[in-house]
C-alpha cells in the first residue's frame, strides 16, 4: 500500500505528455539539443517530449512507476541493456532495419545490445572516461601515467568526475585490474588508491562543475574526463586536452532502445533510425550538452575537419584498442562500489 502511494506520487512527477502526435523519450541531456530533435519533429510532424534522467537506476525507476505505453524510447548505458531487458523494460528491435553495418565494428556491441539472439538496443554514441587537463598548466607527459596523479605534484589541482563506475574503473586499470574483473573480491583493492586520489583532489563534481573548474583554472586535471568534457570548451579554450594514459581508459557508450509496451512502435523505430542515421549521429556527436563519437562511421562525412579533430576521429582505432568497457557489477558489487564512493566523498 505504502509502496503504491509512493509510486502514485512519483508518477505525478514523471508523467509524460500525452498526445497522438507525441513521442515520449527518456533521454540524457545530449538529446535535448534542438539541432538534433527539431529535424525529426519537422520531418514527421510530431512533438518529441523529452525527459532527462541520470543513471540507469533512475531510468528504470521511472519506468517502474509508469504505465506501459507512457514512454516510447529510452537512452541507456550500453552495458546496462541486458539488465533492462531482464527487467522486461525493452522491446525487441528489427535488427535488419538498423544500419549497424556502417558502425565502427567494436561499437556494434552485440554482446550488450543483443540478448538471446534478439536485438533490444543500438549503440548511438561513445567516448572515453580518461584524463582531461590544461596543457599549459601540467606536463602532458605526466598525464600518460596515472601514477602522476597521486605523486604529490598535482595535489589540489585535480578534480574527479562524480560518477563511481568510470572512476572506479580507471582506478582499477591503474592497479592492473581489468574492468571486467571488478567484483566483490577485487573491489577492496581499490579502496586505498581511491582514497589517495581523493586526497590529491580538490573536488569531486558533476559535468558542469567539472567543466567550470577546468575552464576557470580551479583545477588543472579532471580524472574521468575526456572529449565529452573538453570538446564543448575547445573553441574558447584550446589549451584543454585529454589523453588515454598508458594504463588505459574507460570507454563509455550509450544505446537507444524502444521501451516495452510502447503504443507507437513505428514512430519509436523511426526515431531510433533517425538517431543512428548519419545526420542524427552528426548532430548527436556535437550536442550542446556534451560531445561524443558517433557509432555510425558514415557520420564522419557530415562532420567538419575541426569537429573530427576535437573528437580525435583518426585515432579511434588506437583508442578503442586501449580502452575497456565500463564495469558491469552485479547488484551486491554495485552496492559495495557505491558505498566505497560515498565513503570517499565523506573522507
Amino acid at each position: 500500500m505504502a509502496r503504491k502511494s509512493l509510486t502514485a506520487l512519483a508518477l505525478l512527477l514523471a508523467t509524460p505528455a500525452f498526445a497522438e502526435d507525441t513521442l515520449n523519450a527518456l533521454v540524457w541531456c545530449d538529446h535535448t539539443d534542438p539541432a538534433l530533435i527539431e529535424p525529426f519533429e519537422k520531418a514527421h510532424n510530431v512533438k518529441v517530449n523529452l525527459k532527462e534522467f541520470e543513471g540507469t537506476a533512475a531510468g528504470l525507476a521511472i519506468l517502474d512507476q509508469s504505465q506501459p505505453g507512457d514512454w516510447d524510447v529510452m537512452v541507456i548505458d550500453s552495458v546496462d541493456v541486458r539488465r533492462a531487458v531482464e527487467a522486461g523494460k525493452l522491446a525487441e528491435l528489427p535488427a535488419d532495419k538498423l544500419p549497424t553495418a556502417d558502425f565502427f565494428p567494436d561499437l556494434v556491441m552485440a554482446n550488450n545490445n543483443t540478448v538471446d539472439g534478439k536485438t533490444y538496443a543500438v549503440t548511438e554514441k561513445f567516448g572515453y572516461n580518461t584524463i582531461s587537463y590544461d596543457k599549459t598548466k601540467v606536463d602532458p607527459k605526466d598525464m600518460e601515467d596515472m601514477a602522476a596523479l597521486t605523486s604529490g605534484k598535482y595535489d589540489g589541482k585535480i578534480g574527479i568526475y562524480d560518477y563511481y563506475l568510470p572512476v572506479l574503473g580507471l582506478v582499477a586499470l591503474g592497479q592492473g585490474i581489468k574492468t571486467a574483473d571488478l567484483n566483490a573480491e577485487t573491489l577492496p583493492k581499490l579502496a586505498e588508491p581511491l582514497a589517495a586520489l581523493r586526497k590529491s583532489a580538490k573536488q569531486v563534481s558533476d559535468v558542469v562543475s567539472s567543466q567550470t573548474a577546468l575552464a576557470t583554472g580551479d583545477v588543472d586535471i579532471v580524472v574521468g574526463g575526456g572529449e565529452w568534457l573538453t570538446a564543448v570548451l575547445a573553441k574558447d579554450n584550446p589549451n584543454l586536452d585529454w589523453t588515454i594514459p598508458k594504463q588505459g581508459g574507460l570507454r563509455w557508450s550509450q544505446s537507444i532502445a524502444e521501451v516495452a509496451g510502447t503504443k507507437k512502435a513505428d514512430l519509436a523505430l523511426e526515431f531510433i533510425q533517425y538517431i543512428v542515421s548519419p545526420e542524427g549521429q552528426a548532430a548527436l556527436a556535437q550536442s550542446s550538452c556534451y560531445w561524443g563519437m558517433p557509432a555510425n562511421q558514415k557520420a564522419g562525412d557530415l562532420l567538419s575537419p575541426e569537429a573530427k579533430a576535437v573528437l580525435r576521429w583518426d585515432q579511434q582505432p588506437d583508442y578503442i584498442a586501449r580502452s575497456q568497457l565500463y564495469p558491469i557489477p552485479d547488484a551486491a558489487t554495485d552496492a559495495k562500489m557505491q558505498d566505497m564512493w560515498t565513503a570517499m566523498l565523506n573522507q
Binding site: A2, S5, L6, G159, S209, G217, D218, A335, T342, N346
Partner: protein, 284 residues
C-alpha cells in the same frame, strides 16, 4: 440544532479543505515514506517488511552519520551568521532609512531573489574561484600572493547559503522591528538604562519572535537544500540531502533514501521543538 453545534459544523466545514489537503499531500505521503523506510533491498528489488536496518546504518555507518553531522554543522553556522548579519541590516532599514525609502531598501535587499537559485550558485562558483573576483582583487591589492582556496569548500557553501538567507531573515526581523514602538526604548532610557542595556534587555527580547521565526525557516530550508552544497561544496563533503539523492538517483535504494529523509524530518522536528516557544509564523 443549537447555535454552538451549527458553528462547530461550520468550523469543520471551513477547515475541511485544509485538512484534506494536508492529509493528501503530507500525511499520506509521509506514512508511505515511513513504511518504505522499514523496507530493504534484495538485489535491485524493494522488499517490504519491518526492518530497522536502514536506521541502524544511518547512525552507525560513519559515511552516513558524517553526512548528518555535516548538515547540522553547516546549517547552524549559516543560521547564526545570517542572523548576525540580518539583524543590523533590518534595524538600519527600519530605524535609519527614511520611511519613504524603506520599500526601496527592502526591494534592493530581496533583489537577488529574482535570479535563479541554480544560476546564483554557479555565479558564486565563478566569484570564489582561483581566478575569481575575490582572489583577483585580494591579489591585486597585495593582501595575498597565492589565490585562496574558496570554491569547492564548506566556506563556499556557507557563503552561498548566507547570501540567500540574510535576505529572508532581514524581512522577518524588519517586520518585527517596524511594529516596535519607540516608546519602549524611551521608557527604558528614562528609567536609567544605557543604550546597550536597552538593546539587550528590551529591544532584543522583543524582536526574538521575528528572529526565531526567520532562523527556524532558515534552518529548515538550509538543512534540506541539495543544490548549494552540490554546486559550491564541490563534493568535498556530503550533506544529508546529497546522500539522499545518491541513494535515489544512483542506487535506486528508496528504502535507505526514505530512512534518511525521516531522519532529516526528525532533525527539523527537534529544531521546531526548540524554537516553538518563540515561533510566530504569522510574522513571515
Amino acid at each position: 440544532m443549537s447555535i454552538a453545534s451549527a458553528e462547530r459544523k461550520l468550523g469543520w466545514g471551513l477547515l475541511a479543505p485544509a485538512l484534506l489537503w494536508t492529509a493528501a499531500f503530507f500525511v499520506v505521503p509521509f506514512l508511505a515514506m515511513l513504511a518504505l523506510s522499514f523496507a530493504h533491498m534484495e538485489g535491485r528489488a524493494v522488499v517490504q517488511g519491518f526492518d530497522a536496518g536502514n536506521y541502524i546504518r544511518a547512525f552507525t555507518d560513519w559515511s552516513q552519520l558524517k553526512a548528518l553531522i555535516n548538515s547540522v554543522e553547516i546549517t547552524v553556522t549559516v543560521t547564526v551568521i545570517s542572523v548576525v548579519l540580518a539583524w543590523p541590516l533590518a534595524a538600519i532599514i527600519a530605524w535609519q532609512v527614511p520611511a519613504r525609502f524603506q520599500r526601496l531598501a527592502l526591494l534592493m535587499a530581496v533583489l537577488p531573489f529574482w535570479t535563479s537559485y541554480v544560476v546564483r550558485s554557479y555565479s558564486w562558483l565563478l566569484v570564489l574561484g582561483k581566478n575569481g573576483v575575490i582572489n583577483k582583487a585580494l591579489m591585486g591589492i597585495g593582501v595575498i600572493s597565492e589565490p585562496l582556496a574558496l570554491a569547492s569548500t564548506r566556506t563556499a557553501t556557507v557563503i552561498g547559503f548566507v547570501h540567500f538567507f540574510v535576505m529572508l531573515l532581514t524581512l522577518t526581523i524588519y517586520a518585527n522591528l517596524i511594529q516596535l514602538s519607540p516608546n519602549y526604548a524611551r521608557a527604558a532610557q528614562d528609567l536609567g538604562a544605557s543604550r546597550w542595556a536597552t538593546f539587550v534587555h528590551v529591544i532584543l527580547p522583543l524582536t526574538l519572535p521575528g528572529v526565531i521565526t526567520g532562523a527556524f525557516v532558515t534552518f529548515v530550508l538550509c538543512i534540506g537544500d541539495y543544490i548549494t552544497p552540490q554546486i559550491l561544496g564541490g563534493n568535498t563533503e556530503l550533506t544529508l540531502p546529497q546522500l539522499i539523492m545518491l541513494q535515489m538517483g544512483r542506487s535506486g535504494n528508496f528504502p535507505m533514501a526514505s530512512a534518511l529523509s525521516v531522519v532529516l524530518m526528525g532533525v527539523v522536528t527537534v529544531a521546531y521543538a526548540a524554537c516553538s516557544r518563540w515561533l510566530r509564523l504569522d510574522r513571515l
